[in-house]
């Protein structure tokens, strides 16, 4: 939506209206789940379950924030899972050499950055639609991995798993949650106040208009990929350090969950509209579903179906409300 040229008061009003639409309903839905869980399965609120949910939530959210930026520029990244798999293997390599604790995260971020940069350049330089471009690089990344590693890297030292097992604030809060919180707040501020975020929305809304108003569209798109890459790297580091064995297919297919979190959060797949807070709620709902179902006695085998149904319902509800609001126009452009 036209976040670029609204005055601040208008912006606040628009933001409030938006809050009432997607994010508000997501929040209601989330609260409903939590209340139901409180009543139906008090065991759900044990420290153990909460920490498991939070851990999955943090790395899903970190990756989803990166994906959100990419989707805002009206691109998409189906290589995210493959990139995270590569990150996991690269830092496992480093871990095997007995490298110190502080090395893994930067190496992961750098790996993510480089691979994502390749995607960004590929899309903008050759003018190839993002979905097929990243589909092609997915095959390269996934194909490359088993060439350097036979199946998995195992018996990783304690320095490697330190991040997931030992790094805890106040003795219980996993480091991953801290990372997610810092990154989320950082990006909320970034999206709210930085000049650059306005360009991201402008490019996603209307590429031609953005070009005409002096924005370098390609630069903005590549930048979105360059920001997403290190975020994938952080997510990959959290995923990899959760065990002493890192396999080459660790995060293959994870991109679907990441995209699902972003879409559930109300970000329009055609770009230009969507907020970080929505992505936070989307990721949280997706992380809670599977364990929640388990605790009310439904087999977790149904979690994929429920997840698919929720995403479908969410986009249908937001689309139908749009269709009724502005009858006769194409609703695809807005959320």
């Amino acid at each position: 939506m036209g976040e670029t040229n609204l005055t601040r008061a208008d912006g606040r009003k628009a933001a409030f209206r938006k809050l009432l639409s997607t994010e508000f309903y997501l929040l209601l839905f989330l609260v409903a789940i939590l209340v139901v869980m409180r009543v139906a399965a008090p065991g759900f609120y044990s420290m153990n379950v909460i920490m498991t949910v939070l851990n999955y939530f943090s790395y899903l959210l970190i990756a989803a924030i990166g994906m959100n930026l990419i989707i805002l520029t009206s691109n998409i990244d189906v290589a995210a899972g493959a990139i995270i798999s590569v990150v996991a293997i690269v830092i496992a390599f480093v871990g095997k050499t007995g490298a110190p604790i502080g090395v893994f995260m930067p190496v992961g971020m750098l790996t993510g950055f480089l691979l994502s940069l390749i995607n960004g350049l590929f899309i903008t330089r050759l003018k190839i639609p993002a979905i097929v471009a990243t589909l092609a690089t997915t095959q390269l990344f996934i194909g490359f991995l088993p060439l350097v590693v036979e199946g998995s890297i195992y018996d990783l030292p304690a320095t490697f798993t330190w991040l997931s097992f030992k790094a805890k604030l106040f003795g219980f809060l996993p480091a991953s949650v801290i990372f997610a919180a810092v990154i989320t707040v950082g990006f909320m501020l970034f999206m709210r106040y930085s000049q650059f975020s306005k360009k991201i929305y402008a490019v996603g809304n209307n590429q031609h208009a953005a070009t005409l108003s002096g924005i370098n569209v390609n630069k903005v798109m590549v930048a979105a990929f360059m920001i997403a890459g290190p975020l994938y790297g952080i997510a990959g580091t959290i995923i990899a350090t959760a065990g002493q064995r890192v396999t080459t297919t660790m995060a293959n297919g994870f991109e679907f969950s990441i995209i699902a979190a972003v879409v559930l959060g109300g970000t329009s797949i055609s770009g230009g509209s969507g907020r970080i807070i929505g992505t936070v709620l989307g990721a949280l709902i997706l992380s809670i579903i599977s364990p929640a179902m388990n605790y009310i006695g439904l087999s977790s085998d149904w979690s994929d179906a429920v997840m698919g149904a929720i995403i479908l319902l969410a986009v249908i509800v937001s689309s139908v409300s749009q269709l009724t609001k502005k009858k006769g126009t194409i609703a695809e452009v807005t959320t």
Partner: protein, 329 residues
Amino acid sequence: MKKPFKIDFNIALLIILVALIAVIGIRNPNFVHYNYVMAVVVKNIMELGMMALPMTLIVITGGIDLSVGSIMIFAAISGGLVSASHGEAAGVLVTIAIGLLCGLLNGFVVAKLKISALITTLATFFLFRGIARGITAGDSVYSYKFSTAMGNTEVGGAPLALFFYIACAVVFTLLLSKTALGRSLYAIGLNQDAARYSGLKVDSILIWIYVLSGVVCSLCAFFYLGRFTSVKYDVANSMNLTVVTIIVLGGTSILGGVGDMRGTIIATFIIAVLKSGLTVMNIPIDIQTIIQGIVLIISLIVYSILGERAKQKKILEVMRDGGPRLAEE
């Protein structure tokens, strides 16, 4: 002007295909042996090839169907379960009904609710696969007589699926190039609103092609279940992306409005030869994935250089005489 240009694409693809077969055949003569070609090269690509046909129509309208693999597995699993409890005939009917209903759901959401095909089919990718997982509790489902026969019958050494594939390929090629419906698909892909205002029933056309896609997935479900005797919910996870690879390699633009069934068919066999040919040459499966990726990238680069021109020409054609004349190539 346009004819040599258009033919060049498919001829280039054909040359690549022949060259691949020649290179692999010289390195390993067994590869070009009739039995090997039929039992390995052709048999392994049939489901993907069949799914690529209706999906080409969908991509030409500017859509995509990421749920194809999930529909196939959902249909196969439901059919297997029902045939075990209610008999063969019920299993067959349920398999077809599932594909039809899944396609109908996709089509309805895309056409009537105006939700992007990417999102819709991403959600139904989870939904259909998820239901398949739920009703089996993650266990395998076994083949039944009809499906086994479909998957393993051979006619003159060729798998039964090949004949279905040829029939489908002919029907879809004619549908796209000779019928008004085919032309309207291009119109929708180039500009959906313009197509609507010029009187095309865009919504029902879209619903139809998604239903077609679903039904073809049902057909594939028989072959797939028969071939592997048992299936689990997660065996077809990456099928959608391979089908997209085939279509893009075949020269259909993912942005819609440009595309050709012949390209898809040739690309199907290029992927088939790549997959099995490299196995014959003892090239590990991972390098095959890389090679497949590189082939896709090269074709993307070529198409991106030529694609802009093709699209402009296509628009001119539509403006000039109301439809692309692919039929005349």
